[in-house]
Amino acid sequence: MVTPKMRVQAVPARSPADTLPKTATPIVPADSIAGQALVAVIAIMAFLAAVTLGAVVLVRGAAGEWQAAVAREVTIQVLPTQGRDLDADLKRAADLAVATPGVDNVRVYSKTESERLLEPWLGSGLALDDLPVPRLVVVRISADAQPNLNALRKALANEVAGATLDDHRGWIDRMRGMARTSVICGIVVLLLVLAATMLSVAFATRGAMASNRPVIEVLHVIGARDGYIAGQFQRHFLWLGLKGGAIGGIAAMVLFFLAGSFGEWFKGTAGEQQVAALFGSFAIGIVGYAAILVLVGVIAGVTAGTSRLTVFHTLGMIE
């Protein structure tokens, strides 16, 4: 039988040590650092850097696509010449192209197709019969093949009057130059943004050190090494850098995602081809998103590293 007395269990005596919390208070209090303002600055910098990085990825990707597409295609343009059979000239030009090694296929644009190409500029519904609309032969080149276009050009000049060959080389060179310039500009902007971030963090660290001077002095006299003191600040700034970097990076990723979806809105409209021709696609792909994530890590690392260096430098000046 259980009596009420037997139910009473012995309560182990609690020592004062048992009441102590398991987590230690940070030596440098978080609220002594102008954290919110710094997070906002880092977030803005991270956003700008991520947008720049995404734009570089976008331009590089689009330029690569343009170059590949343009380089795999050459165009023979045949101007109507009085007294000549244009269709026969087109056929002869197509035959010469087909006979050239490395050519995959040849397509002669019909008169209607050629006139439709002018619609964006001249509008539809016009009678173009009286105009000398040039006709096109689009020549697709096999992948990795390098046909002798000079020989084809010469043959066309000899055998088809009014025929010219456009291999788009000028366009390719200009595009390559533009892409290279865009990448260089992007890298410069990235470096500037990182430099601005470092300066902001250095100022914030100095401010934090000034407001925590009593803490630093106590740490110093009780035998804390500079690395230990710097570590106390670095921990805070790493967290602030991660927070700011993540906010800016995620905002940029959302922007690119929306921009990618924005391209979908043009589907089936007259602007679709122009947008596609100009940008290919706004989607930066997995590589772009991964690059932004790496950038967030770099910004957090730069923030922590800058604060550490600033603490070391300032402690060196105090000594």
Partner: protein, 240 residues
């Protein structure tokens, strides 16, 4: 306070310093910037296990001398040897290592207001990188010794002047320093507590720590028969 105040630290004696003195000053002078010398031709020794008062009128240079002793200042001239090392020739890291062998009680306590009494006292051990579990009981025991066993979780702003003083002393001795420096440790407490605190320093001294107490309280010094280092106009007079 508990009856046997040394119970917390008697078990572990400081590392013996052998024949090497704790502190040796030879013709030490100190000036701030281009100003006049505030300390002139100081030559004295502080031996292991010794107890001394550092006294003199306000502005005599007591705090400056203490700052030289805890390596917060470098002398303008002369030689300072701490635990047998010429401090002028030591690297920054070596100076930090030496600083760990010195405990300091500041006149204004310098407790960190955002940390509990327990955390303030355990800070020197935390800085050494020790695991909290290894020193938890030791810190609690020491706080009970100085009568703060019930104030472990209190933040310094809510402690009385005497409690802050005892917390500051506990922080200074927790890492078992070989030299304890106290700047006006009785300046903020009533005479009864002041005597208790000095007795506490005397007990610490018996356990092997060399003690230097800076004070201008003549009455307090008369209560203890100890060596007196008297600073006057930057010069030192020693009364054994």
């Amino acid at each position: 306070m508990v009856n046997n105040p040394l119970g917390a630290i008697e078990r572990k004696q400081p590392t013996p310093t052998g024949d090497v003195g704790v502190v040796r000053f030879e013709n030490v002078g100190l000036r701030y910037g281009l100003g006049p010398e505030v300390l002139r031709d100081l030559s004295f020794n502080i031996g292991p296990h010794s107890f001394q008062f550092l006294t003199g009128p306000s502005g005599a240079g007591k705090t400056s001398l203490l700052r030289l002793l805890y390596l917060s200042l470098k002398p303008t001239r002369g030689l300072i040897t701490l635990f047998g090392h010429d401090v002028a020739t030591l690297s920054k890291d070596a100076l930090t290592t030496l600083r760990r062998r010195v405990g300091i009680v500041f006149q204004d306590f310098r407790l960190l207001d955002h940390m509990t009494t327990y955390e303030n006292v355990s800070l020197p051990l935390r800085v050494l990188g020790k695991d909290e579990a290894t020193y938890r009981d030791e810190v609690v025991e020491l706080l009970r010794w100085v009568g703060l066993g019930e104030r472990l979780m209190a933040l310094p702003p809510v402690l009385s002047g005497g409690e802050k003083q005892r917390a500051a002393i506990a922080r200074a001795v927790i890492a078992r320093p070989q030299l304890l420096l106290a700047d006006e440790p009785t300046g903020n407490v009533d005479p009864v507590l002041a005597r208790r605190l000095v007795r506490l320093f005397a007990e610490l001294n018996k356990s092997g720590t060399a003690v230097v107490i800076a004070t201008h309280d003549i009455g307090l010094m008369d209560l203890f028969d100890a060596r007196r280092l008297v600073l006057h106009e930057g010069r030192m007079h020693i009364y054994e």
